[in-house]
């Protein structure tokens, strides 16, 4: 609760709303004891006095009544009526909602049908009909406004109650012999109450506005009694000659409603946990680059990452997701990047084309050299031209990575037309060709499918076809088979391998599965906590891993036909990349770790065509995995 209030008041606008509203409420409560003239004493000689007249701070109205006094009393009345309407609507609506949700079955069905029926009315219209029946008057207007808000409460509270009615504690209460009424009062109600209060806080502003509206139409409070709405309604006749009589109550309604809105927004933001971490910010078209060092000179390789560093800045924390990674890949070559979740392999891949979500992501150092040009320093337009054209991505889980509302054919066509002008017909024929190339049966018909009409394997083929659309030089595949079952996975891997050989593609393949690496990759880089810990040709590394982490990771893979063998989970968790330990990041989980491992910087030492970031690689390669 205290944390909630802190959060609420850190929002300056919400605090402003709270202060304004409290002040207004205070004035409304104090009105009877303030030294104000009687709001209903008429003085025809003093009609329409302007503001700041003698004895009348805000002037007088068309009957010479003191406007300030009437404003105070009117505000008091409007607030009281709005609050009363909110209470009535909340009470009746919540009762209906709880009964419907708790009883379920036919009762629920009938009640909710009726509620839906009421919600079919434009709601001011329903209020008008009720006032028409009951006759004009403030109490009737109050009932009308409360009545039209009942369905809102009924529906919301029913939803919450339905969720609660099946919980264990309700069953337990029933078994202990409590009656339905007791269960509702002592078990359900306490849990529903916060929702009711929140629903009230978001609707009370509307209810004040609506009762004021009915009074404005002459259907609410009747003279001489006046709420803010009827003050405005009466003043309308003199709008042009004495505008202040209209503006004074109008601004008051505006202030009340605005302060309630500000406060309500603040409450909603403080409750919604997604907003707390600032996660609801949209990623920019390209990752922000703020390099603190001069980038290295471009390399001769097709694609080379050079000491690349990518960080996430959330609040005052800095997560070093990629902490100085150097990699390269050339034509026809397949490079595997392997590591646990959170090791930074995906962020590394996304950094290449500036696709890391930003904010909060930021590239803070190093370079990505593609065909001799630095992509990190490239402008958005340069990046956009290369994206999908020369360097294409295949992502994990194509259900979320393909657009759900476009046909797959159109998504393929778009990938082509983003880079070259192409007549629709030709593009469509090419889309069918691409689908055939990734072995989708019936491609001519499938091209008109939406993603949700395809199976997971088919969708993944579509995203591969999309990556091939412009015959790129490099494909970066980010766990493209993780979401698929084993047979489909094998098919997709074979397909990728064939395509690589046919088209001389360079592939960067990101995975957490050594089996996949063995099948597909020429070289492999093992990542841990944002850095490469071992790198080299696949076969020697598989034969003789030199980093303890590589060794453990390999021990996690079950081998088919390998006989019974103990599978090993790696004890402990990878370190959080916002507070990396000194020295080797793997040391806390390593059986060979010694004091020196926890001190200073440990470098990635090259040895022939292999490299390892470990002080005792010989020890590792001689020992069988235990633990």
């Amino acid at each position: 609760m205290i944390q909630f209030l802190k959060l609420l008041f850190r929002n300056r606008l919400a605090a402003l709303g709270a202060v304004t509203l409290s002040f207004t409420l205070l004035l409304a409560v104090l009105t009877p004891i303030l030294p104000l003239p009687n709001p209903n004493i008429t003085a025809t000689a003093d009609r329409f006095l302007p503001p700041f007249s003698d004895g009348h701070l805000l002037g007088t109205d068309h009957l010479g009544r003191d406007l300030f006094s009437r404003l105070m009393w009117g505000t008091r009345l409007s607030l009281a009526v709005g609050a009363a309407a909110a209470l009535i609507a909340a009470f009746i609506g919540s009762t209906i909602g709880i009964v419907a949700g708790f009883m379920g079955g036919r009762t629920d069905n009938i009640i909710m049908r009726l509620v839906d029926m009421l919600m079919a009315f434009p709601y001011i219209l329903l209020a008008l009909a009720i006032v028409a029946a009951l006759g004009p008057g403030l109490v009737n207007a109050l009932f009308a406004v409360a009545a039209v808000n009942i369905p809102f409460f009924a529906r919301n509270i029913r939803g919450v109650t339905v969720g609660l009615a099946n919980k264990e504690f309700v069953d337990a209460a029933r078994l202990s012999g409590m009656s339905n009424l007791q269960i509702i009062l002592f078990e359900i109600l306490p849990n529903v109450l916060p929702v009711i209060v929140i629903a009230m806080s978001t609707t009370v502003g509307w209810m004040i506005l609506e009762t004021a509206g009915l009074s404005f139409l002459g259907l609410g409070s009747q003279p001489p009694q006046a709420d803010l709405g009827s003050m405005l309604g009466e003043a309308r006749a003199a709008l042009i000659t004495s505008p202040h009589t209209s503006i004074v109550p109008g601004i008051m309604i505006f202030l009340i409603v605005m302060s309630i809105n500000l406060l309500g927004d603040g409450v909603r933001d403080a409750i919604d946990p997604r907003l707390k971490s600032g996660a609801l910010s949209r990623p920019l078209p390209a990752t922000i680059v703020e390099r603190d060092t001069t980038p290295p000179a471009p390399s001769d390789d097709l694609l080379a990452l050079q000491d690349l560093r990518t960080e996430f800045h959330v609040g005052d924390r800095t997560y070093k997701a990629v902490g100085g990674v150097s990699l390269k890949v050339n034509k026809g070559e397949c490079l595997g990047i392997i590591g646990e979740s959170g090791s930074g392999k995906s962020v590394t891949a996304l950094s290449v084309m500036g696709l890391v979500a930003s904010p909060p992501g930021k590239i803070v150092g190093g370079a990505v050299s593609f065909q001799g040009n630095d992509l990190v320093g490239a402008s958005y337009d340069q990046l956009r031209e290369l994206r999908g054209d020369r360097v294409a991505y295949i992502f994990q889980d194509p259900l979320s990575t393909l657009h759900p509302l476009y046909k797959v054919g159109d998504q393929l066509i778009e990938a082509m037309q983003a880079h070259r002008k192409m007549p629709e017909k030709e593009a469509r024929a090419r889309a069918v060709e691409l689908l055939e190339a990734v072995r989708i049966p019936n491609a001519a018909r499938r091209v008109d499918n939406y993603p949700h009409e395809m199976s997971g394997g088919m969708r993944q083929r579509v995203s591969i076809a999309m990556a091939l659309a412009n015959e790129p030089d490099v494909i970066i595949a980010d766990e493209p088979t993780t979401a698929l079952d084993v047979t489909v996975q094998a098919q997709i891997l074979t397909l990728l391998d064939e395509l690589r050989r046919e088209r001389d593609l360079a592939i960067v393949f990101i995975t957490h599965d050594f089996g996949v690496v063995a099948q597909l990759c020429d070289r492999v880089a093992v990542m841990y906590a944002g850095r490469i810990v071992e790198e080299g040709p696949t076969a020697p590394i598989l034969d003789d891993p030199q980093h303890p982490y590589t060794k453990k990771l390999m021990a996690c893979v079950p081998e088919l036909g390998g006989g019974k063998r103990e599978l090993h989970a790696i004890p402990g968790l990878p370190p959080a990349v916002d507070r990396l330990p000194q020295g080797c990041a793997f040391a806390p989980r390593c059986e060979f770790a010694q004091e020196v491992c926890k001190q200073g910087e440990i470098t990635l030492d090259a040895n022939g065509d292999r490299a390892v970031r470990c002080l005792f690689p010989d020890k590792v390669s001689q020992t069988e995995v235990t633990s």
């Binding site: 009315f121 009720i130 009951l134 004021a212 657009h403 778009e414």
Partner: protein
């Protein structure tokens, strides 16, 4: 698609019946009898009985409902006793004016609301976003009737850009430019709150969508940012925005009451308020049922639009 439309139309029938029943029952709560309301307090019992017989008020409640319903289905909404003309004629004439006003406001709120929401999301935390958020906050907090009055003071009385009130000029008016000239202020005043609500919802819907994986895919394909925002993102966001537009249509349609009062617009809202004050029950009943039915039908259009946009709805 035709099957879906048909299904929605059929499902609207019980709702329409429900609406007539609710309106009828609300009106049946009226204390006192309409005959006395028409004839005044000094009516003779014979005359009251005669009026009751003429209006069919001597029959039992449920019978009266079915007579009223049956008559309405044949286009006979009864006769207004305050205006002494058929209710339906009056409704159609007045509804025309309301439709012009509310329709314009609806188009305004949809257009500017979505536009503002998209700009706000695409420029999140930029000055445009801040300016829009601030304007929206004011827009949704100001009562439409007060906004209308302020607009009259500023743009009609002070600046003399637009006429103070009415739908057509009394002398020499009646053509389209004259109508538009009269329409500008009431349409904007009526649209203000709805525009604010649509802008807010659009902004948050866009922000939600822009974080999705398929937006990253579109960017990874090299689709330019304009197309990413206005094509990929907006299309998905519309799935959330369209139902909001449906609700705002009801709000604009019924909120027209206030604006029609402020601007002396000869619409159905003003007719209803007059009818309520004069206790002209048949006119109120007919008017409310008519507008509510229009809203129900409009919501079918909204649902159909939604299903056209999102292929996942039908299956």
């Amino acid at each position: 698609m035709a099957a879906y439309i048909l299904k929605r139309l059929i499902s609207a029938i019980p709702v329409l019946f429900g609406i007539t029943l609710i309106v009828f029952l609300i009106m049946a709560m009226i204390p006192g009898d309409p005959a006395t309301a028409i004839l005044g307090a000094y009516a003779t019992p014979e005359n009251v009985a005669k009026i009751n017989k003429d209006l069919g008020l001597d029959a039992p409640l449920f019978q009266r409902y079915f007579i009223w319903l049956g008559n309405m289905l044949t286009g006979d909404f009864g006769r207004s006793y305050s205006l002494n003309r058929p209710v339906l004629d009056e409704i159609l004439e007045r509804f025309n004016a309301t439709l012009i006003l509310a329709g314009t406001s609806f188009v305004l709120c949809a257009l500017f609301g979505i536009l503002a929401g998209v700009i706000s999301a695409a420029r999140q935390y930029g000055w445009a976003d801040k300016a829009i958020t601030f304007t929206v906050l004011i827009g949704i907090s100001i009562p439409s009737f007060f906004l209308g009055m302020v607009m009259i003071l500023v743009f009609a009385v002070r600046l003399r850009w637009f006429p103070v009130s009415g739908m057509y000029a009394i002398y020499g008016g009646g053509d389209l430019p004259d109508l538009l000239n009269h329409l500008v202020m009431p349409a904007i005043a009526l649209a203000a709150v709805a525009t604010g609500v649509v802008a807010r919802m659009s902004r948050s819907a866009m922000l939600e969508v822009l974080r999705q994986d398929y937006i990253r895919t579109a960017r990874a394909k090299g689709v330019n940012e304009r197309k990413v925002v206005l094509g990929h993102a907006l299309k998905s966001a519309m799935v959330t925005i369209i139902p909001v537009l449906g609700i705002q249509a009801g709000f604009v349609l019924s909120g027209a009451v206030y604006i029609e009062m402020v601007f002396q617009w000869p619409g159905i809202g003003r007719m209803l308020v007059d009818a309520i004050l004069k206790r002209d029950i048949l006119l109120v009943q007919g008017g409310v049922v008519f507008v509510a039915a229009c809203y129900v039908l409009f919501n079918i259009i909204v649902d159909v639009a939604q299903s056209l946009l999102d292929p996942r709805i039908k299956s």
